[in-house]
Amino acid sequence: GVDCGADSRMCCRQEFFVDFKEIGWEDWIIQPEGYHMNYCTGLCPLHVAGIPGLAASFHTAVLNRIKAASAAAAVDSCCVPTQRRPLSLLYYDRDSNIIKTDIPDMIVDSCGCT
C-alpha cells in the first residue's frame, strides 16, 4: 500500500492519529494513549483498478496500458482498506470495572483499489 503525501491524488492511506487527551477521554481509557484512525482516500482510475496500492512492476504497467486502451465497461473502482488490525483498549466502564477488549478491524494498515 501507499501512504498519502502532501499532494497525493491516487489511492493511498491517510494517517490520522486521535490523541485521547485531546478529546478529553484520557480519564476513562487507560490504554492506549490514542487511536490511529487512518483512512483510504484518492483516485482509482480504471487502469489501476483491482491492484492493491500502486504496483510498480513492468508486468503491471503493461497490464495497465492494456486496461486503459480497452476502457471496456467504465466501471467505478474505489480506494478501500486492504489490510486492517484490531484496536486493543483497556478502559473503565460506568461501574468503574476495568475492561480489556480487542475491537477487530479498527486500524487501517494499507489501502488499494477495488
Binding site: V18, D27, M37, T41, S96, N97, I98, T101, P104, M106
Partner: protein, 230 residues
C-alpha cells in the same frame, strides 16, 4: 460519493482543514463508542486503590501461569471454558467488590456489571477471589445471591462451605451464576459470607486494603443470531 452516503469520511474531504479535523475527531469518538456498544462515554471513574489493582493483576497472572497451584482452597466445578470463538470480540473484566449491608458474622459484597457488556456478551469463565485475613482455621459459608424475579428478595444461586485453614487467597468459580445474571435487568452479583457468631469478619478491614475481593471474568461477544429462511 455523494455527501452523507454510506462512506463516513467522503464528505470530510471537502471541508476546510480545521473543520475537517473536528469532523474526523467526532467520527473517531462515534466509531469507538459504537464498537464498545456505549451510548456515550462513561462518567469519571472511581478507580480502585493502586494496591488493590496491583494485587489483583498479580493474582490474575499467577492464576493464568499455573492454575493448579495458584492458591489454596481452589474451587472449580470442573467446567472448561468453551473455546473462545474465532473472530468474536472478547472481553476481560475486572470488578472490585462494593460493601453491602453487613453484621459481625455476615458480610455482603456487591459486584456490578454494565448492561452494555452484559447484553452483548456471554460469559466464558468467571472467578471470585477472596482473601481471608483470619490467621487460624475458620469455617466460612459463601453464598452467591441473585435477585428473585418474582419479588424484591434475593435467592441463593449457590452455597459453598469452606474450612479455611490459614490466611490467604481462595478462588471460587462464579461463571454459571454470572452467566445467568447477565441475562437479567440489573447484572449485579451479590456474595454473602457467613461465619459462626463471635468469630469476627473473615475479610480485610476496609475497601482500600490491597487484598480487597474482586471478580475476573472472560466474556465474548454473543454470536449474532442468523435467521435461515427457506
Amino acid at each position: 460519493e455523494a455527501k452523507g452516503s454510506g462512506c463516513p469520511v467522503c464528505g470530510v474531504a471537502s471541508l476546510a482543514p480545521g473543520a475537517q479535523r473536528d469532523a474526523l475527531l467526532e467520527l473517531a469518538k462515534q466509531s469507538i463508542l459504537a464498537k464498545l456498544r456505549l451510548p456515550a462515554r462513561p462518567g469519571v471513574p472511581q478507580p480502585p486503590s493502586r494496591g488493590a489493582l496491583l494485587t489483583a493483576l498479580r493474582r490474575m497472572r499467577a492464576q493464568r501461569s499455573d492454575p493448579a497451584t495458584a492458591s489454596p482452597g481452589m474451587l472449580r466445578d470442573g467446567r472448561v471454558p468453551s473455546r473462545p470463538g474465532m473472530g468474536l470480540q472478547e472481553y476481560e473484566i475486572l470488578s472490585f467488590a462494593e460493601s453491602g449491608p453487613s453484621t459481625s458474622h455476615r458480610v455482603h459484597l456487591h459486584f456490578r456489571f454494565s448492561q452494555e457488556v452484559a447484553r452483548s456478551t456471554e460469559i466464558l469463565q468467571a472467578t471470585l477471589y477472596l482473601f481471608w485475613a483470619a490467621p487460624g482455621a475458620q469455617p466460612i459459608t459463601v453464598r452467591l445471591l441473585q435477585p428473585d424475579p418474582a419479588g424484591p428478595n434475593m435467592t441463593v444461586a449457590s452455597e459453598t462451605r469452606l474450612e479455611v485453614q490459614r490466611s490467604g487467597w481462595t478462588t471460587l468459580d462464579v461463571g454459571a451464576t454470572l452467566q445467568s445474571l447477565f441475562g437479567q435487568e440489573t447484572p449485579r452479583l451479590t456474595v454473602e459470607l457467613e461465619v459462626p457468631k463471635d468469630w469476627g469478619t473473615p475479610l480485610p478491614s476496609n475497601h482500600s486494603d490491597s487484598h480487597w475481593p474482586f471478580v475476573v471474568a472472560q466474556a465474548q461477544a454473543r454470536t449474532p443470531h442468523r435467521l435461515h429462511r427457506r
